[in-house]
Protein backbone atom coordinates (compact mmCIF):
# COMPACT_ATOMS: atom_id res chain seq x y z
CA UNK A 1 0.00 0.00 0.00
CA UNK A 2 1.90 2.91 -1.38
CA UNK A 3 1.96 6.41 -0.10
CA UNK A 4 -0.40 8.67 -1.97
CA UNK A 5 -0.11 12.39 -2.71
CA UNK A 6 -1.93 14.67 -0.28
CA UNK A 7 -2.30 18.44 -0.21
CA UNK A 8 -3.56 20.64 2.59
CA UNK A 9 -2.78 23.88 4.36
CA UNK A 10 -1.03 23.71 7.73
CA UNK A 11 -0.52 26.87 9.76
CA UNK A 12 -1.15 29.01 6.69
CA UNK A 13 1.30 27.16 4.42
CA UNK A 14 0.17 25.00 1.54
CA UNK A 15 1.85 21.61 1.89
CA UNK A 16 2.22 18.71 -0.55
CA UNK A 17 3.38 15.36 0.71
CA UNK A 18 3.11 11.61 0.28
CA UNK A 19 1.15 9.82 2.98
CA UNK A 20 0.21 6.17 3.52
CA UNK A 21 -3.53 5.54 3.02
CA UNK A 22 -4.05 4.32 6.60
CA UNK A 23 -2.17 7.17 8.31
CA UNK A 24 -4.00 9.42 10.76
CA UNK A 25 -3.70 13.19 10.57
CA UNK A 26 -1.85 13.03 13.90
CA UNK A 27 0.83 10.61 12.62
CA UNK A 28 1.11 12.68 9.45
CA UNK A 29 1.75 15.90 11.37
CA UNK A 30 4.25 14.27 13.72
CA UNK A 31 6.06 11.73 11.52
CA UNK A 32 5.86 13.24 8.04
CA UNK A 33 5.98 16.94 8.91
CA UNK A 34 7.91 16.94 12.21
CA UNK A 35 5.21 19.07 13.82
CA UNK A 36 5.62 17.33 17.16
CA UNK A 37 3.85 20.00 19.21
CA UNK A 38 0.68 17.99 18.72
CA UNK A 39 0.91 15.08 21.17
CA UNK A 40 -0.15 11.46 20.95
CA UNK A 41 -1.73 10.28 24.19
CA UNK A 42 -4.29 7.50 23.90
CA UNK A 43 -4.63 7.32 20.09
CA UNK A 44 -8.33 6.59 20.51
CA UNK A 45 -9.96 9.98 20.92
CA UNK A 46 -10.30 9.92 24.72
CA UNK A 47 -7.52 12.24 25.95
CA UNK A 48 -7.62 15.25 23.62
CA UNK A 49 -3.81 15.67 23.57
CA UNK A 50 -3.84 15.51 19.76
CA UNK A 51 -6.40 18.31 19.30
CA UNK A 52 -5.87 20.51 16.24
CA UNK A 53 -8.20 22.94 14.47
CA UNK A 54 -9.49 21.45 11.22
CA UNK A 55 -11.48 23.81 8.99
CA UNK A 56 -12.29 25.98 11.99
CA UNK A 57 -13.26 23.21 14.40
CA UNK A 58 -11.27 21.48 17.14
CA UNK A 59 -10.90 17.75 16.40
CA UNK A 60 -8.90 14.84 17.78
CA UNK A 61 -6.37 14.37 14.97
CA UNK A 62 -5.78 10.71 15.93
CA UNK A 63 -9.31 9.96 14.67
CA UNK A 64 -8.95 11.78 11.35
CA UNK A 65 -7.76 9.87 8.32
CA UNK A 66 -5.02 12.01 6.81
CA UNK A 67 -6.43 11.69 3.30
CA UNK A 68 -9.87 12.80 4.44
CA UNK A 69 -8.24 16.14 5.35
CA UNK A 70 -7.32 16.82 1.72
CA UNK A 71 -7.52 20.56 0.92
CA UNK A 72 -8.39 21.34 4.54
CA UNK A 73 -7.06 24.24 6.62
CA UNK A 74 -5.29 22.91 9.70
CA UNK A 75 -3.92 24.86 12.64
CA UNK A 76 -1.60 23.21 15.14
CA UNK A 77 -0.13 24.67 18.30
CA UNK A 78 2.94 25.70 16.25
CA UNK A 79 0.73 28.01 14.21
CA UNK A 80 -0.72 30.07 17.06
CA UNK A 81 2.02 32.54 17.94
CA UNK A 82 2.64 35.54 15.70
CA UNK A 83 5.86 37.58 15.32
CA UNK A 84 4.35 39.94 17.93
CA UNK A 85 4.22 37.22 20.56
CA UNK A 86 2.26 34.33 21.91
CA UNK A 87 -1.44 33.82 21.34
CA UNK A 88 -3.64 35.13 24.17
CA UNK A 89 -4.50 31.58 25.21
CA UNK A 90 -0.84 30.54 25.39
CA UNK A 91 0.02 33.66 27.40
CA UNK A 92 -2.87 33.04 29.79
CA UNK A 93 -1.75 29.45 30.44
CA UNK A 94 1.65 30.81 31.46
CA UNK A 95 0.25 33.63 33.59
CA UNK A 96 -2.24 31.44 35.44
CA UNK A 97 0.02 28.39 35.72
CA UNK A 98 -2.36 26.27 33.67
CA UNK A 99 0.24 23.57 33.10
CA UNK A 100 2.64 21.34 34.96
CA UNK A 101 4.16 18.48 32.97
CA UNK A 102 2.85 20.09 29.78
CA UNK A 103 1.90 16.99 27.84
CA UNK A 104 -1.80 17.83 27.60
CA UNK A 105 -1.14 21.55 27.10
CA UNK A 106 -1.08 21.80 23.28
CA UNK A 107 -4.36 19.89 23.12
CA UNK A 108 -5.96 22.00 25.83
CA UNK A 109 -4.77 25.20 24.18
CA UNK A 110 -6.15 24.17 20.79
CA UNK A 111 -9.46 23.12 22.38
CA UNK A 112 -9.62 26.52 24.11
CA UNK A 113 -8.78 28.44 20.92
CA UNK A 114 -11.50 26.56 19.02
CA UNK A 115 -14.00 27.11 21.80
CA UNK A 116 -13.33 30.83 22.33
CA UNK A 117 -13.81 31.67 18.67
CA UNK A 118 -17.41 30.38 18.98
CA UNK A 119 -18.08 31.59 22.53
CA UNK A 120 -16.13 34.77 23.34
CA UNK A 121 -18.10 35.38 26.57
CA UNK A 122 -18.14 31.98 28.27
CA UNK A 123 -19.27 31.03 31.76
CA UNK A 124 -17.00 28.80 33.82
CA UNK A 125 -19.53 26.02 33.26
CA UNK A 126 -19.19 26.51 29.48
CA UNK A 127 -15.39 26.23 29.76
CA UNK A 128 -15.62 23.00 31.76
CA UNK A 129 -17.95 21.58 29.15
CA UNK A 130 -15.67 22.68 26.31
CA UNK A 131 -12.61 20.91 27.77
CA UNK A 132 -14.54 17.76 28.72
CA UNK A 133 -12.64 15.96 25.98
CA UNK A 134 -9.17 16.82 27.35
CA UNK A 135 -7.45 14.86 30.09
CA UNK A 136 -4.92 16.50 32.42
CA UNK A 137 -3.46 14.46 35.26
CA UNK A 138 -1.42 17.25 36.90
CA UNK A 139 -3.32 20.48 37.33
CA UNK A 140 -6.71 19.38 38.61
CA UNK A 141 -8.07 21.70 35.87
CA UNK A 142 -8.66 24.70 38.17
CA UNK A 143 -5.75 26.68 36.78
CA UNK A 144 -6.61 25.60 33.25
CA UNK A 145 -10.13 26.98 33.63
CA UNK A 146 -8.77 30.22 35.12
CA UNK A 147 -6.38 30.51 32.16
CA UNK A 148 -9.15 30.08 29.60
CA UNK A 149 -11.37 32.64 31.39
CA UNK A 150 -8.43 35.09 31.39
CA UNK A 151 -7.74 34.41 27.71
CA UNK A 152 -11.39 35.12 26.90
CA UNK A 153 -11.10 38.48 28.63
CA UNK A 154 -7.82 39.35 26.87
CA UNK A 155 -9.22 38.39 23.49
CA UNK A 156 -12.33 40.52 24.06
CA UNK A 157 -10.08 43.49 24.85
CA UNK A 158 -7.91 42.81 21.80
CA UNK A 159 -10.98 42.71 19.58
CA UNK A 160 -12.71 45.80 20.97
Amino acid sequence: MQKQPLEFTVNGRRRQLLVAPYYSLLDTLRDEMQLTGTKKGCDEGDCGACTVILDGKPVTSCLVLAHSARDAEITTVEGLASPDGLHAVQQAFIEKGGLQCGYCTPGLIMAAVGFLQDNPVPSEEDVKFAIGGNLCRCTGYTKVIEAIMLAAETMREQNS
Partner: protein, 307 residues
Protein backbone atom coordinates in the same frame (compact mmCIF):
# COMPACT_ATOMS: atom_id res chain seq x y z
CA UNK B 1 1.04 -3.87 11.11
CA UNK B 2 -2.53 -3.57 9.85
CA UNK B 3 -3.05 -1.60 6.67
CA UNK B 4 -5.82 -0.63 4.31
CA UNK B 5 -6.35 1.18 1.05
CA UNK B 6 -8.18 4.48 1.01
CA UNK B 7 -10.98 5.10 -1.47
CA UNK B 8 -13.27 8.07 -1.75
CA UNK B 9 -16.79 8.16 -3.12
CA UNK B 10 -17.81 11.42 -4.76
CA UNK B 11 -21.47 10.50 -4.93
CA UNK B 12 -23.87 7.89 -3.66
CA UNK B 13 -23.79 5.82 -6.83
CA UNK B 14 -20.04 5.55 -6.61
CA UNK B 15 -20.22 4.59 -2.93
CA UNK B 16 -22.68 1.79 -3.67
CA UNK B 17 -20.65 0.42 -6.57
CA UNK B 18 -17.40 0.52 -4.54
CA UNK B 19 -19.10 -1.33 -1.69
CA UNK B 20 -20.48 -3.91 -4.11
CA UNK B 21 -17.14 -4.40 -5.79
CA UNK B 22 -15.18 -4.88 -2.54
CA UNK B 23 -17.89 -6.63 -0.54
CA UNK B 24 -16.86 -7.78 2.90
CA UNK B 25 -13.32 -6.42 2.43
CA UNK B 26 -14.56 -2.83 2.43
CA UNK B 27 -15.67 -0.66 5.31
CA UNK B 28 -17.68 2.51 4.83
CA UNK B 29 -16.35 5.48 6.85
CA UNK B 30 -17.36 9.11 7.36
CA UNK B 31 -16.18 10.67 10.63
CA UNK B 32 -14.00 7.57 11.19
CA UNK B 33 -14.09 8.12 14.98
CA UNK B 34 -15.35 4.59 15.68
CA UNK B 35 -13.58 3.06 12.73
CA UNK B 36 -10.00 4.07 13.59
CA UNK B 37 -10.40 2.93 17.20
CA UNK B 38 -11.84 -0.45 16.23
CA UNK B 39 -9.21 -0.87 13.50
CA UNK B 40 -6.32 -0.16 15.85
CA UNK B 41 -7.79 -2.62 18.33
CA UNK B 42 -7.84 -5.21 15.54
CA UNK B 43 -11.61 -5.76 15.65
CA UNK B 44 -12.14 -4.53 12.11
CA UNK B 45 -9.64 -5.51 9.43
CA UNK B 46 -10.90 -4.22 6.10
CA UNK B 47 -8.56 -4.22 3.12
CA UNK B 48 -10.02 -0.88 2.03
CA UNK B 49 -12.14 1.95 3.41
CA UNK B 50 -14.68 3.85 1.34
CA UNK B 51 -14.93 7.41 2.63
CA UNK B 52 -18.27 9.10 1.89
CA UNK B 53 -17.53 12.27 3.88
CA UNK B 54 -17.24 14.32 0.69
CA UNK B 55 -20.86 13.70 -0.43
CA UNK B 56 -22.07 17.10 0.72
CA UNK B 57 -25.75 16.47 -0.06
CA UNK B 58 -25.81 13.95 2.82
CA UNK B 59 -24.70 16.56 5.34
CA UNK B 60 -27.89 18.62 5.34
CA UNK B 61 -30.31 19.09 8.23
CA UNK B 62 -33.72 20.36 7.14
CA UNK B 63 -36.80 21.06 9.18
CA UNK B 64 -40.33 22.19 8.53
CA UNK B 65 -43.40 22.11 10.76
CA UNK B 66 -45.17 20.09 8.10
CA UNK B 67 -42.51 17.54 7.17
CA UNK B 68 -40.56 17.28 10.38
CA UNK B 69 -36.83 16.81 10.61
CA UNK B 70 -34.56 15.32 7.97
CA UNK B 71 -31.06 14.47 9.12
CA UNK B 72 -28.54 13.66 6.42
CA UNK B 73 -26.45 10.68 7.49
CA UNK B 74 -23.34 12.87 7.43
CA UNK B 75 -24.74 15.54 9.78
CA UNK B 76 -22.23 15.73 12.62
CA UNK B 77 -23.24 15.18 16.22
CA UNK B 78 -22.05 18.74 16.90
CA UNK B 79 -24.30 20.15 14.17
CA UNK B 80 -27.24 18.35 15.78
CA UNK B 81 -26.32 19.62 19.24
CA UNK B 82 -26.13 23.23 18.03
CA UNK B 83 -29.16 23.27 15.73
CA UNK B 84 -31.74 25.65 17.26
CA UNK B 85 -34.66 23.78 15.66
CA UNK B 86 -33.55 20.50 17.19
CA UNK B 87 -33.03 22.16 20.58
CA UNK B 88 -36.54 23.60 20.33
CA UNK B 89 -38.59 20.71 18.92
CA UNK B 90 -36.52 17.56 19.53
CA UNK B 91 -34.93 18.33 22.89
CA UNK B 92 -34.02 14.72 23.71
CA UNK B 93 -32.00 14.50 20.49
CA UNK B 94 -30.09 17.68 21.35
CA UNK B 95 -29.38 16.36 24.86
CA UNK B 96 -28.32 13.00 23.40
CA UNK B 97 -25.88 14.85 21.16
CA UNK B 98 -24.56 17.00 24.00
CA UNK B 99 -23.82 13.92 26.12
CA UNK B 100 -21.81 12.37 23.30
CA UNK B 101 -18.00 12.17 23.85
CA UNK B 102 -16.12 15.50 23.75
CA UNK B 103 -16.46 18.38 21.33
CA UNK B 104 -13.43 17.21 19.33
CA UNK B 105 -15.17 13.91 18.60
CA UNK B 106 -18.62 15.49 18.10
CA UNK B 107 -17.11 17.68 15.38
CA UNK B 108 -16.12 14.53 13.45
CA UNK B 109 -18.70 11.88 14.34
CA UNK B 110 -21.81 11.63 12.17
CA UNK B 111 -25.32 10.61 13.14
CA UNK B 112 -25.31 8.01 10.36
CA UNK B 113 -22.14 6.51 11.79
CA UNK B 114 -23.62 6.37 15.27
CA UNK B 115 -26.66 4.54 13.88
CA UNK B 116 -24.69 2.14 11.65
CA UNK B 117 -22.25 1.18 14.38
CA UNK B 118 -25.33 -0.07 16.21
CA UNK B 119 -23.79 0.06 19.66
CA UNK B 120 -26.39 -0.68 22.34
CA UNK B 121 -25.00 2.42 24.12
CA UNK B 122 -24.95 4.87 21.16
CA UNK B 123 -25.94 8.24 22.61
CA UNK B 124 -28.13 9.52 19.78
CA UNK B 125 -30.02 6.24 19.42
CA UNK B 126 -32.60 6.31 22.26
CA UNK B 127 -33.76 9.79 21.20
CA UNK B 128 -33.96 8.83 17.52
CA UNK B 129 -36.02 5.76 18.48
CA UNK B 130 -38.27 7.78 20.77
CA UNK B 131 -38.92 10.28 17.96
CA UNK B 132 -39.99 7.47 15.61
CA UNK B 133 -37.10 7.93 13.18
CA UNK B 134 -37.28 6.26 9.77
CA UNK B 135 -34.08 5.22 7.99
CA UNK B 136 -33.53 6.22 4.38
CA UNK B 137 -31.40 3.58 2.71
CA UNK B 138 -29.91 3.53 -0.77
CA UNK B 139 -28.53 0.44 -2.42
CA UNK B 140 -27.96 -1.47 -5.65
CA UNK B 141 -31.68 -2.27 -5.87
CA UNK B 142 -32.74 1.34 -5.29
CA UNK B 143 -33.97 3.24 -2.25
CA UNK B 144 -36.00 1.93 0.67
CA UNK B 145 -37.12 3.14 4.07
CA UNK B 146 -37.15 1.20 7.30
CA UNK B 147 -38.27 2.16 10.80
CA UNK B 148 -35.23 2.58 13.04
CA UNK B 149 -36.79 0.04 15.43
CA UNK B 150 -36.16 -2.60 12.75
CA UNK B 151 -32.68 -1.40 11.81
CA UNK B 152 -30.72 -2.78 14.78
CA UNK B 153 -30.16 -6.55 14.62
CA UNK B 154 -27.68 -7.02 17.46
CA UNK B 155 -24.58 -5.33 18.86
CA UNK B 156 -22.81 -3.88 15.80
CA UNK B 157 -25.28 -5.55 13.42
CA UNK B 158 -27.77 -3.75 11.21
CA UNK B 159 -30.38 -4.43 8.55
CA UNK B 160 -28.08 -3.08 5.82
CA UNK B 161 -27.07 -5.60 3.19
CA UNK B 162 -23.88 -5.46 1.10
CA UNK B 163 -23.77 -2.35 -1.04
CA UNK B 164 -26.40 -0.49 0.99
CA UNK B 165 -25.79 2.93 2.54
CA UNK B 166 -27.80 4.71 5.22
CA UNK B 167 -28.41 8.12 3.62
CA UNK B 168 -30.46 9.82 6.31
CA UNK B 169 -33.06 9.75 9.03
CA UNK B 170 -36.53 11.25 8.95
CA UNK B 171 -38.29 12.28 12.15
CA UNK B 172 -42.01 13.13 12.03
CA UNK B 173 -43.13 16.69 12.85
CA UNK B 174 -43.29 17.57 16.54
CA UNK B 175 -46.75 17.39 18.12
CA UNK B 176 -48.04 20.32 20.18
CA UNK B 177 -47.76 19.99 23.99
CA UNK B 178 -44.76 17.71 23.73
CA UNK B 179 -41.66 17.57 25.92
CA UNK B 180 -38.65 15.30 25.82
CA UNK B 181 -35.32 14.61 27.49
CA UNK B 182 -32.42 12.15 27.25
CA UNK B 183 -30.41 11.30 30.34
CA UNK B 184 -27.19 9.33 30.17
CA UNK B 185 -25.80 7.71 33.25
CA UNK B 186 -22.08 6.96 33.11
CA UNK B 187 -19.16 6.51 35.51
CA UNK B 188 -17.54 9.79 34.38
CA UNK B 189 -19.19 13.06 33.44
CA UNK B 190 -17.43 13.35 30.11
CA UNK B 191 -16.01 11.02 27.50
CA UNK B 192 -17.53 7.86 28.88
CA UNK B 193 -19.82 5.21 27.47
CA UNK B 194 -23.36 5.11 28.84
CA UNK B 195 -24.10 2.65 31.64
CA UNK B 196 -27.76 3.39 30.93
CA UNK B 197 -29.37 5.89 28.57
CA UNK B 198 -33.05 6.80 28.60
CA UNK B 199 -34.99 9.08 26.23
CA UNK B 200 -38.62 9.95 26.91
CA UNK B 201 -41.01 11.91 24.70
CA UNK B 202 -44.38 12.83 26.21
CA UNK B 203 -47.35 14.46 24.42
CA UNK B 204 -50.37 15.76 26.33
CA UNK B 205 -53.99 16.30 25.31
CA UNK B 206 -55.50 19.82 25.16
CA UNK B 207 -56.37 19.57 28.85
CA UNK B 208 -52.64 19.59 29.67
CA UNK B 209 -53.02 16.60 31.99
CA UNK B 210 -53.91 13.52 29.96
CA UNK B 211 -51.18 11.61 28.18
CA UNK B 212 -51.90 11.53 24.45
CA UNK B 213 -48.72 9.73 23.46
CA UNK B 214 -45.61 8.51 25.23
CA UNK B 215 -42.47 7.12 23.67
CA UNK B 216 -39.63 5.79 25.79
CA UNK B 217 -36.39 4.28 24.51
CA UNK B 218 -33.63 2.59 26.48
CA UNK B 219 -29.92 2.30 25.69
CA UNK B 220 -27.16 0.04 27.06
CA UNK B 221 -29.62 -2.36 28.73
CA UNK B 222 -30.05 -4.94 25.96
CA UNK B 223 -28.28 -6.18 22.82
CA UNK B 224 -29.76 -3.22 20.91
CA UNK B 225 -31.34 0.07 21.97
CA UNK B 226 -35.12 -0.41 22.04
CA UNK B 227 -38.53 1.10 22.79
CA UNK B 228 -40.03 0.30 26.20
CA UNK B 229 -43.46 -0.29 24.70
CA UNK B 230 -45.02 -1.77 27.85
CA UNK B 231 -44.04 1.36 29.77
CA UNK B 232 -45.50 3.53 27.00
CA UNK B 233 -48.79 1.60 27.19
CA UNK B 234 -49.07 2.35 30.92
CA UNK B 235 -49.18 6.07 30.16
CA UNK B 236 -51.34 6.38 27.05
CA UNK B 237 -54.80 7.84 27.64
CA UNK B 238 -54.29 8.30 31.39
CA UNK B 239 -54.07 11.38 33.53
CA UNK B 240 -50.43 11.97 34.33
CA UNK B 241 -49.70 11.73 38.06
CA UNK B 242 -46.52 10.99 40.00
CA UNK B 243 -47.86 7.48 40.66
CA UNK B 244 -48.52 6.86 36.98
CA UNK B 245 -45.00 7.95 36.00
CA UNK B 246 -43.59 5.66 38.70
CA UNK B 247 -45.65 2.77 37.38
CA UNK B 248 -44.39 3.37 33.83
CA UNK B 249 -40.80 3.59 35.09
CA UNK B 250 -41.23 0.25 36.85
CA UNK B 251 -42.54 -1.28 33.64
CA UNK B 252 -39.47 0.05 31.76
CA UNK B 253 -37.28 -1.63 34.36
CA UNK B 254 -39.06 -4.94 33.69
CA UNK B 255 -38.38 -4.60 29.97
CA UNK B 256 -34.63 -4.04 30.42
CA UNK B 257 -32.35 -7.04 29.87
CA UNK B 258 -28.92 -5.68 30.78
CA UNK B 259 -25.65 -7.53 31.28
CA UNK B 260 -23.03 -7.20 34.03
CA UNK B 261 -19.93 -5.36 32.88
CA UNK B 262 -17.27 -2.96 34.06
CA UNK B 263 -19.71 -0.02 34.03
CA UNK B 264 -22.37 -1.63 36.19
CA UNK B 265 -24.08 -4.84 37.20
CA UNK B 266 -27.30 -5.92 35.56
CA UNK B 267 -29.25 -5.28 38.79
CA UNK B 268 -27.76 -1.81 39.13
CA UNK B 269 -28.65 -1.02 35.52
CA UNK B 270 -32.24 -2.08 36.08
CA UNK B 271 -32.46 0.25 39.10
CA UNK B 272 -31.07 3.06 36.98
CA UNK B 273 -33.55 2.39 34.17
CA UNK B 274 -36.38 2.89 36.62
CA UNK B 275 -34.88 6.03 38.15
CA UNK B 276 -34.00 7.66 34.83
CA UNK B 277 -37.24 6.73 33.09
CA UNK B 278 -39.09 8.37 35.95
CA UNK B 279 -36.86 11.44 35.84
CA UNK B 280 -36.96 11.91 32.06
CA UNK B 281 -40.77 11.55 32.15
CA UNK B 282 -41.09 14.13 34.92
CA UNK B 283 -39.09 16.68 32.94
CA UNK B 284 -40.83 15.78 29.68
CA UNK B 285 -44.19 16.35 31.44
CA UNK B 286 -43.11 19.79 32.70
CA UNK B 287 -41.84 20.73 29.26
CA UNK B 288 -45.03 19.46 27.61
CA UNK B 289 -46.97 21.77 29.93
CA UNK B 290 -45.02 24.71 28.54
CA UNK B 291 -42.09 25.04 30.93
CA UNK B 292 -38.98 26.03 28.98
CA UNK B 293 -35.71 24.59 30.22
CA UNK B 294 -32.67 26.45 28.91
CA UNK B 295 -30.22 24.37 26.94
CA UNK B 296 -27.66 24.85 29.73
CA UNK B 297 -30.12 23.32 32.22
CA UNK B 298 -30.80 20.43 29.86
CA UNK B 299 -27.06 19.94 29.39
CA UNK B 300 -26.62 19.70 33.17
CA UNK B 301 -29.41 17.15 33.38
CA UNK B 302 -28.22 15.13 30.39
CA UNK B 303 -25.28 13.43 32.07
CA UNK B 304 -25.67 11.86 35.50
CA UNK B 305 -22.46 10.44 36.89
CA UNK B 306 -21.72 7.79 39.48
CA UNK B 307 -18.82 9.72 41.05
Amino acid sequence: MLRFDYLEARNLRQAISLLQRHGEDARLVAGSTDFLVRWRQGFWRPSCVVNIKGISSLRRITYSARNGLNLGALATVQAIELDPRIRRYYEALATGATSFAGVQVRNLATVGGNVCNASPAGDTLPALLAFDAQCNIAGPEGARTLPLTEFFRGPGRTALSTGEVLTGLKLPPPQPRTGSLYIKHSPRGAMDIATVGVASVLTLEDDGRTCKDARIALGAVGPVPFRASAAEAVLKGKEVTADLLAEAANEARNQATPIDDVRGSADYRKEMVEALTNRTLQYAFRMARGERLSFEEQRRLAVQTAF
